[in-house]
């Protein structure tokens, strides 16, 4: 493990070699990822309003272009090798979301757009020390005090402790080696101890995945509680767009006047035209759309991914749903009663 005392020098050294993004407070006091430049102030917020998935799966992305000249159509491959970049300050929940996205985009057929970004990005995670009431990463076995990523960072009393987890991480630390000194894990252990005590006090500390998970489609699909749970959902899709693990997209064409730009953009199962086909939408009511979002995260995704849940407990949907309906309320309701 390595010790770092001058965070700003660390940022400057990295930024001299590649683009560095880190959470910065915006004009409304929320954190968002911004490119580091001299004078950038690193945010003290627990997490960013938008998740870190934007780096690998941006909200809109060009896939290809068509140029038309008379009867001739040129198909233009717009893919370019992405430049190397570093994201600093990713929390354990968001870091775990990358694994979930990888399971979607890096399996056959591999998504070359996603893979390109993933290969060029180095993720530096930061252990949490002040979780919020909306945090429940622990319910999914995610350790906020030991996040993954290429490099893990811990804030300790007199600086930061860094640990490289991958080759990419080793390489990153090697290029800032003169700012680092060797250290043991004593300070980290102390911070983890403190965090554990805090996590135990969180209101959602006792939330479990009992009652949801792999193989429960039959038991859960027709539960009568879906009606009340979905009743006041306004189908806005906020929960899906702030979610680090939501992965659905739509492919659309944009007429530029002299050609077509084919792009993909985030889509939401909460929308009435999601997966719309010639005959219409397979999920005709908001109940069905609402159920899809939660069944996907809590049952279908685990079904297809060795029991791993499609939620990392980041709490963003808890904080941003206009009607305060969310996955925790769904999990608790499904765990209660039931007729299994």
């Amino acid at each position: 493990m390595k010790k770092l005392t001058n965070l700003n020098a660390f940022f400057a050294a990295i930024a001299a070699k590649q683009a560095l993004y880190l959470p910065v407070d915006n004009s409304v006091g929320k954190a968002e990822y911004k490119k580091w430049q001299d004078g950038t102030v690193y945010s003290s917020a627990l997490n960013t309003a938008r998740s870190a998935k934007d780096f690998f799966f941006p909200q809109t992305e060009n896939l290809m272009e068509f140029k038309m000249e008379g009867k001739k159509i040129d198909v233009i491959d717009t893919r370019e090798e992405c430049e190397d970049f570093v994201i600093f300050g990713v929390r354990a929940c968001d870091a775990a979301s990358f694994d979930i996205l990888d399971r979607v985009y890096l399996v056959d057929p591999v998504d070359s757009y996603y893979k390109n970004r993933r290969e060029h990005g180095t993720v530096v995670t930061l252990a949490c020390n002040r979780p919020a009431e909306t945090c429940f990463c622990g319910a999914f076995g995610i350790d906020a005090g030991n996040p993954l990523g290429d490099v893990t960072a811990w804030k300790v009393e007199d600086g930061y402790v860094l640990r490289a987890n991958t080759e990419k991480g080793e390489a990153l630390l090697a290029c800032v080696a003169d700012l680092l000194t060797d250290t043991d894990d004593a300070a980290v252990k102390k911070e983890q101890e403190k965090l554990r005590a805090i996590m135990a006090k969180l209101p959602l500390a006792n939330l479990t995945t009992d009652g949801v998970g792999e193989g429960l489609t039959k038991e859960l699909f027709d539960r009568p509680e879906w009606a009340a749970l979905s009743e006041s959902c306004i189908g806005c899709g906020t929960c899906t767009f702030v979610c680090p693990t939501c992965q659905c997209y739509d492919i659309r064409d944009f007429d530029t006047g002299h050609g077509i730009q084919r792009f993909r953009c985030w889509d939401s199962c909460m929308y009435s035209d999601f997966t719309k086909m010639a005959h219409g939408n397979p999920r005709v009511s908001q109940l069905e759309r609402f159920r899809q979002r939660f069944m996907h995260k809590l049952v279908y995704f685990p079904d297809n991914n060795d029991g791993i849940f499609g939620c990392v407990g980041c709490g963003r949907c808890l904080a941003s749903c206009p009607i305060s309906m969310n996955i925790v309320k769904v999990m608790k309701t499904l765990a209660k009663g039931g007729n299994q």
């Binding site: 915006n26 004009s27 409304v28 006091g29 929320k30 968002e32 627990l46 309003a49 938008r50 909200q59 809109t60 002040r130 979780p131 919020a132 009431e133 909306t134 805090i198 006090k201 969180l202 209101p203 959602l204 009340a228 009743e231 006041s232 306004i234 189908g235 806005c236 899709g237 906020t238 899906t240 767009f241 702030v242 739509d250 659309r252 944009f254 730009q261 792009f263 953009c265 985030w266 889509d267 929308y271 009435s272 035209d273 808890l318 941003s320 206009p322 009607i323 305060s324 309906m325 925790v328 309320k329 608790k332």
Partner: protein, 315 residues
């Protein structure tokens, strides 16, 4: 308040005046109440809550609910009654199927303001004598109610219920000096470049989640142009900054004259975009061009943008 509301809801349910109650059910935290329909006394007794965090405007749900079997009881704050009236004027809600109880309002809390004060790990919020004691796992803090009040409530335009079948608490008055146009005036005083920069800065944060549109009681189209592939402007995400602006400008134009300034759009925006400023600019202009008009105040009033007078201003 909660006890009085619950008692009255139970009475009206038991005597058959209504068969459902639209209110709020308790959440995981002290502040995350969810709008809910209650069909039995037992449900009301177990889950009904009402407190300073019940900010959602329930009017829009009545489009759907008033078309169901039987009459539904709804609790409306003064500002919600304007939305309700506007929906009546637009023939979107069936008035006979709704029993409205107007509730006196002292302003609602914006929990984001508490969080912005650095409060995290919130486990309890106790209100007493104008002070909230916010209990968190990191310690407690006292916050003045006024400091936690939602922006829209700080410039509340009216404490008066413009429609109700009965009231709980006192009815108030229209607030003439609510200062709701202060920020609009500041924007008007800017140069066009400064104003453009202001709005680009704000709108660039938009994630097109559609929360503002879907929550808005004035946005009641069966099929929004932005969802309609045949409209030519359907979009799920803005391709560029032009489209980003366009969504908001079209929406603001479409609700102009019908927006009651309920403030729901700004309340729900996960990116804290001050959408109410766009609508207030329209309201202010209409007041100046066509005379004072408040959407929702009187369901029979002639809307300024739907009326032609020979003396009307041309531009």
């Amino acid at each position: 308040m909660q006890a009085m509301m619950e008692k009255r809801a139970i009475e009206l349910l038991e005597n058959g005046t209504v068969n459902r109650v639209l209110g709020w059910s308790a959440g995981e935290f002290p502040y995350d109440m969810t709008p809910a329909v209650f069909e039995s006394v037992e449900e009301l007794q177990n889950n009904f809550v009402y407190n300073d965090f019940c900010g959602a405007n329930l009017s829009k749900y009545l489009i759907k609910e008033s078309r169901k079997e039987g009459k539904i009881l709804v609790f409306l704050k003064p500002c919600d009654t304007y939305s309700f009236n506007q929906l009546i004027a637009e023939h979107r809600v069936i008035r006979e199927n709704v029993y409205v109880i107007g509730i006196e309002c002292f302003g609602k809390v914006d929990v984001e303001k508490l969080k912005a004060m650095g409060l995290s790990g919130i486990t309890g919020i106790i209100a007493k004598n104008g002070i909230y004691t916010v209990e968190t796992i990191y310690g407690n803090k006292e916050v003045k109610m006024a400091d936690a009040m939602a922006e829209r409530c700080l410039s509340c335009k009216s404490k008066k219920h413009v429609v109700y079948d009965e009231l709980i608490g006192e009815d108030g008055e229209v607030v003439d000096d609510c200062n709701r146009f202060d920020m609009v005036e500041k924007l008007e005083a800017m140069t066009p470049d400064e104003r453009f920069a202001f709005w680009r800065g704000e709108l660039s944060r938009c994630i097109r989640c559609n929360a503002c549109r879907n929550v808005c009681p004035a946005c009641t189209c069966e099929h929004c142009v932005f969802d309609n592939p045949n409209s030519g402007i359907a979009q799920k995400a803005a391709v560029n900054s032009f489209e980003e602006n366009m969504f908001h400008i079209i929406r603001a134009f479409h609700v102009a004259g019908r927006c009651t300034d309920c403030g729901e759009c700004s309340r729900v925006c996960p990116q804290n975009i001050p959408l109410h400023l766009l609508n207030r600019k329209f309201i202010k202009d209409m007041n100046e061009f066509y005379g004072e008009y408040q959407a929702g105040e009187d369901p029979n009033a002639k809307p300024p943008l739907g009326t032609f007078r020979t003396g009307d201003r041309e531009a």
